[in-house]
């Protein structure tokens, strides 16, 4: 998957988790925690959705890599190359 495709995949997951959120103005550099008030339960859900949809395993100590859209895409790009 390309960076743009990964970004869309993450948006899709965020939309499922928080269907009431308008994600069209999401700022890629600002942490999800600040913009969407995601908490640890929500981050765990992003991890589990990635596992469910793309079979990607993310070790617990690397959850912090998913803090914003840009860091998430950066982290996932090499890991989702072949998908």
């Amino acid at each position: 998957m390309t960076a743009a495709e990964i970004r869309d995949a993450i948006l899709d997951i965020l939309h499922d988790i928080a269907p009431d959120e308008d994600l069209s103005n999401l700022k890629d550099e600002v942490p999800f925690r600040e913009q969407l008030e995601l908490d640890s339960m929500d981050f765990l859900d992003i991890v589990m959705e990635l596992r469910k949809r793309y079979r990607i395993q993310i070790p617990e100590e690397e959850y912090t890599e998913l803090s914003s859209m840009s860091s998430t895409v950066r982290y996932l790009e090499p890991r989702m190359k072949g998908i």
């Binding site: 499922d16 988790i17 269907p19 009431d20 969407l36 008030e37 908490d39 339960m41 765990l44 469910k52």
Partner: protein, 457 residues
Amino acid sequence: MYDTIIIGAGMSGLAAGVRLAHFGQKVCILERHSAIGGLNSFYRQGGRTFDVGLHAITNYAPKGTRSGPLAKLLRQLRLAWEEWALAPQLGSSIVFPGIKLRFSNDFELLTSEVRRHFPDQVDNLRRLAAALHDYDQFGQSGANRSAREVVGNIITDPLLVEMLFCPVLFYGGAQEHDIDFDQFSILFRSIFLEGLARPLAGIQKILKMLVRRFKEHGGELRLRAAVDQIVVKDEAVQKILLEDGSELEARNILSSAGWAETLRMCSAATAEEVASPGRLSFVESISILDHAPRSFGYEETIVFYNDSEKFRYEKPDDLVDLRSGTVCSPNNFAYGEPLEEGVIRISALANYDRWAALAPEEYRLAKLRWYDRLAASAARFVPDFRGVVVETDMFTPMTIHRFTGKANGAVYGSAEKRRDGTSHLKNLYICGNDQGLVGIVGAILSGISIANRHLLK
């Protein structure tokens, strides 16, 4: 072989089921009854749908709220706010002799009422709100402190203390008189700081939504599937025996039946594992009216009443405690359209043993007699509705026991909670009101958090 078998299709079991099935587990929910819902259910009678349990949903938050229990629950179950379409309360009150404290979903109303009736306690009320423990998904700080002690040190007028404890204990007190301060914090927040609401269609809307979600993800719901025995071998559940003789196996078992109730199902529970069930139960009368309550001047959502300065939250000696109670009108929420009929529901503490000792004919008569007494008792505190009643029903601690399996009809479960959701067996977990969270939002969060913590790793 299932990944998880869940005992009980109440709010907590269904919510856990949705989470597990969503993430690909093979899940089966076993429900003893032909109806789902457990403590929060509904039934049809004479062409009408009656709610059981639900007066109001606590933890109200308006659309767009991103934090707090309701927002958390909606995200975890992948629900949009509109799917619950909660209508906020119109306004409620706590009524003691000669004094009435109104409250709404805006904490400022309660604050101004306290300023009026207890001028020297306003700052203390704010201090109490600030001292509440932060909401935690497991409802625990591990502190185990008496709320009577903590609150009594902050609010120095004993009458105000009694008045604040009245709704808190009625909506979640599993033990007599007192409650753990963590639990107090959760309940106080959920009632006074977040507030009360109800979906127009009542509890069935929420239950049906959970079942639909569960089945969409491939979950299996079996009604009339009563567990006869949890067969234990080598400190783990080996299999589940159903009353119809069939056997089921699963990697993990999650029981929402209650801690003592679950232990009783286990084939090998040792003496030290015997838990004491709760002992506090309720009756509830339901009156269908041929007028909307507001037509005779009753516009409040919930009235918590107590007829003396001291609130006694205890198992009464008589069948019903007429000294205190809760009056709820499901009509008095801010819906877009009115309910079809007027409804008044009154709950009061009741004695399970006294009801259980009645012969069938005495039981039937007692229901009628105590309906009248309860209505007369409540009419001291709310406009008298008895002239416009067209149909009545009444449920008792026996009814609760029959439909939920809760020992002693104890709706809030045991006084001792299993907060981390673990049990004495390595693959058996506990959710629901004996895990520690009560109410509809609490029950759902209990199922979600125990599923997340122990079963989704």
